[in-house]
């Protein structure tokens, strides 16, 4: 077993898989073409990890395969199925929990060459894409037609297939929801190589189980997503970014449930403590709009037109002021809004070198103030800095465990944070997925649910070749 582990354990039964032999590798080359195969280990480093900050999960595949079509994916998967070779699908590997790391070696199936936007159906407001389309290209293509794809997981280089497989979220979820809300249909290659379209272009569909939803968020353990029909919307007529300034955390975070309660739904409500701003400003050479106050809420608001925008803005500002905001600033030019968002989006990059781990615990929005307060208490208890910032509007404030404290405290602290989240009615992962990093915490949410998932997994993939070892142990 090649897996480097720092005290974490996975049940690895290597005997149940076969090794790729020369004959199989040649057949793979015949299917996808030699330019679609990487066999040289020196060129495989990119395929041995994702963006998880620690190196715990680094593990190399035996071969990287880059198919060009569903047909090729199907043939590769069939070959893997017949020969019991583990296969790990991957997009851009921007994940944060080791989800696409091939811990059993075998085939890393990279969808990057399937990057065509197949159809923009402007009448039904749907776009059909291949799984390897990068989000940035999807955004650009629809924007050129004055359309809008609302979900915005942080890293725009992520691919559609990966975003669906992890049910990615991001900062615009407050108003628009997560990937799941924008997937109408998917084409999947099942573990035995069969191809099936799940879901349709229809708005209403009660024709049997919602299999499309079963695959969304399944992290590549049930099959390979090869195509998707995604919902798009007309572009909002006007947008603005508000920055509300507060003297203390309680007032800032206390504003959030008040906004939600009124049904105002800004696109995003981000919560930022002042201390994370200077390192990000230094990194980007840009200036955050204010140095006043201690805590800021960043609200992005969209509307049909300028008048509606100002109306919503007025209501939002009233709520902020009632919760002791000292001032609320507004940016309405595209340039200024992009600058603010850019700083917000790069906080993680600025902090990354000091981050041990970024957690993804999510609680119901009404509990967010309480959650952040209790995170602070735990930070004091374990003497480890825990920075909190991010998606306050959907209860998904990422806790950043920072370097500098006793390493022996990481594990019990991590555990206590997750227990606390669950106790508050939360979940262990809101948008990053379980992958490898959160398996031990998923167990805290109940063995019954995991057993159900195991039964589904066994029914679809009895040989356990699809992304084995992820989400839960069989």
């Amino acid at each position: 077993m090649k897996l480097k582990s720092t005290g974490k354990k996975w049940e690895v039964d290597e005997m149940s898989y076969n090794k790729l032999n020369e004959n199989l590798i040649d057949r793979i080359g015949e299917i996808v073409g030699e330019e679609g195969v990487i066999r040289d280990r020196d060129k495989m480093d990119d395929f041995s990890h994702d963006e998880y900050p620690l190196l715990d999960f680094k593990s190399f595949p035996d071969i990287v395969v880059q198919p060009r079509s569903t047909e090729e994916v199907s043939q590769i998967v069939k070959l893997a199925w017949e020969n019991s070779i583990p296969i790990t699908p991957r997009g851009s590997a921007t994940g944060l929990c080791g989800g696409c790391v091939p811990i059993y070696g075998g085939i890393a199936l990279s969808l990057e060459r399937m990057d065509n936007i197949l159809e923009i159906d402007e009448d039904n407001l749907l776009v059909t894409v291949e799984a390897g389309v990068k989000l940035m290209d999807l955004f650009k293509t629809v924007e050129d037609r004055e359309l809008f794809f609302p979900p915005h997981p942080g890293d725009e280089s992520a691919m559609v297939g990966g975003a669906i497989a992890t049910n990615a979220g991001g900062s615009r979820a407050v108003k628009y929801g997560v990937m799941r809300n924008f997937v109408r249909g998917i084409e999947v290659v099942l573990p035995n190589g069969d191809v099936e379209w799940l879901g349709t272009k229809n708005v209403k569909d009660t024709s049997g189980y919602s299999l499309v939803n079963l695959f969304i968020g399944s992290e590549g353990t049930l099959g390979v997503i090869t195509k998707a029909i995604l919902k798009i919307t007309p572009q909002p007529g006007a947008t603005m970014t508000l920055v509300a300034i507060y003297e203390n955390l309680e007032d800032a975070i206390g504003t959030v449930p008040e906004i939600i309660k009124k049904g105002l739904s800004p696109i995003s409500i981000e919560f930022i403590e002042k201390e994370v701003i200077p390192p990000t400003e230094a990194l980007l050479g840009k200036k955050w709009p204010t140095s006043e106050g201690e805590v800021h809420l960043m609200l992005i608001v969209d509307a049909r037109d300028e008048d509606e925008l100002m109306q919503i803005g007025e209501e939002l500002v009233d709520i902020c002021t009632a919760n002791n905001a000292t001032d609320v600033l507004v940016a309405d030019t595209k340039e200024k809004q992009e600058e603010i968002l850019d700083i917000r989006s790069n906080i993680y990059l600025a902090l990354k070198k000091d981050v041990v781990e970024i957690l993804d615990i999510t609680v119901p929005p009404s509990r967010i103030a309480d959650f952040v307060k209790r995170v602070r208490d735990l930070s004091e208890k374990y003497k480890i800095e825990l920075l909190t910032y991010g998606h306050a509007g959907d209860g998904n404030v990422h806790v950043h465990m920072m370097k500098g404290g006793e390493e022996s405290a990481y594990s019990p602290l991590r555990r206590e944070l997750h227990e606390m989240g669950i106790e508050m009615g939360g979940v262990v992962s809101g948008e990053h997925g379980i992958g490898l990093a959160k398996k031990e915490f998923l167990k805290m949410m109940g063995e019954g649910k995991i057993e159900l998932m195991r039964r589904i997994k066994r029914a679809l993939d009895e040989k356990n070749i699809m992304n084995p070892g992820k989400i839960f142990d069989l």
């Binding site: 920055v243 200036k287 204010t290 803005g313 609320v328 600033l329 507004v330 030019t333 595209k334």
Partner: protein, 254 residues
């Protein structure tokens, strides 16, 4: 102290549309905002007002009626009063006619200090600020990156190509400011809302007592024949040792 800030309403966005037929800038598209360089002028005026007593800031712009959006922005940021110079006769003005028209209005207002941005993002000439000073017959310092002293007289830091120099100048005067001078603030939402509802004062040809021959297209000796992006070319040539020596010899370095 009476400060006048000159504001050019410009189209939003850094990519300017140049009409393929006429070669002139297309100003019709999108909302007009404060020329980004003029934001520094507005900010500097507000900073002076925050430090000194009895400062009144007037923002002034020459633009079509829809240029009022830029002046509303200036009001939201903290200008006390704004005036939009708008008249059909002002249309098509070059930098000379623009300077003359603005100078006339500034003279009518009365002033101690005029602040302009160093140039506009659409015209890019940097001529209007100094032009106004000439018509007003006052001193001016362009490309000011810092105001070091402001009392009876003013001491400013002026940015030159590869150095700075300190310049002392008596009031009244005009300065044009660079991006280094400050970090423009964002308006508070409440002020933006107030500014949206505010009445914007407008002055036409009659208010200024100008002759139609002196402004707009008629008062403009400049004709834009063609607007094009300059092309920059950089070439890198890789040479071996021998070639390198030859190259040095050719350049008479060896």
């Amino acid at each position: 102290m009476r400060i006048v800030v000159c504001i050019k309403p410009t189209p939003e966005g850094s990519e300017l549309a140049i009409s393929p037929e006429t070669g002139t800038l297309e100003r019709e598209k999108g909302d007009l905002i404060i020329n980004p360089f003029d934001l520094y002028a507005v900010e500097e005026a507000i900073k002076i007002k925050e430090k000194q007593k009895e400062v009144e800031i007037t923002g002034i712009a020459m633009a079509p009626p829809k240029g009022d959006s830029a002046l509303r922005e200036a009001l939201a940021l903290g200008c006390d009063r704004t005036i939009l110079l708008t008249d059909r006769e002002f249309a098509g003005a070059d930098t000379l006619a623009t300077s003359r028209t603005l100078a006339k209005a500034i003279d009518k207002l009365g002033f101690d200090l005029v602040i302009c941005g160093m140039k506009s993002t659409d015209g890019d000439t940097a001529q209007v600020g100094p032009g106004i000073a000439e018509f007003l017959d006052i001193s001016h310092v362009s490309w000011v990156s810092s105001i070091l002293e402001l009392g009876e007289k003013m001491v400013v830091k002026q940015m030159l190509e590869d150095c700075y120099r300190e310049v002392e100048v008596g009031l009244p005067c005009l300065i044009t400011v660079t991006k280094e001078i400050n970090d423009p603030r964002l308006p508070s939402f409440k002020n933006k809302l107030k500014a949206k509802k505010a009445e914007i004062e407008t002055w036409g040809l009659e208010n200024l007592g100008l002759n139609p021959q002196e402004c707009g297209l008629k008062g403009s000796p400049t004709r834009v024949v063609k607007t094009a992006h300059p092309s920059y070319r950089k070439e890198v040539e890789f040479v071996d040792e021998k070639g390198f020596i030859e190259e040095l010899e050719e350049w008479r370095i060896l």
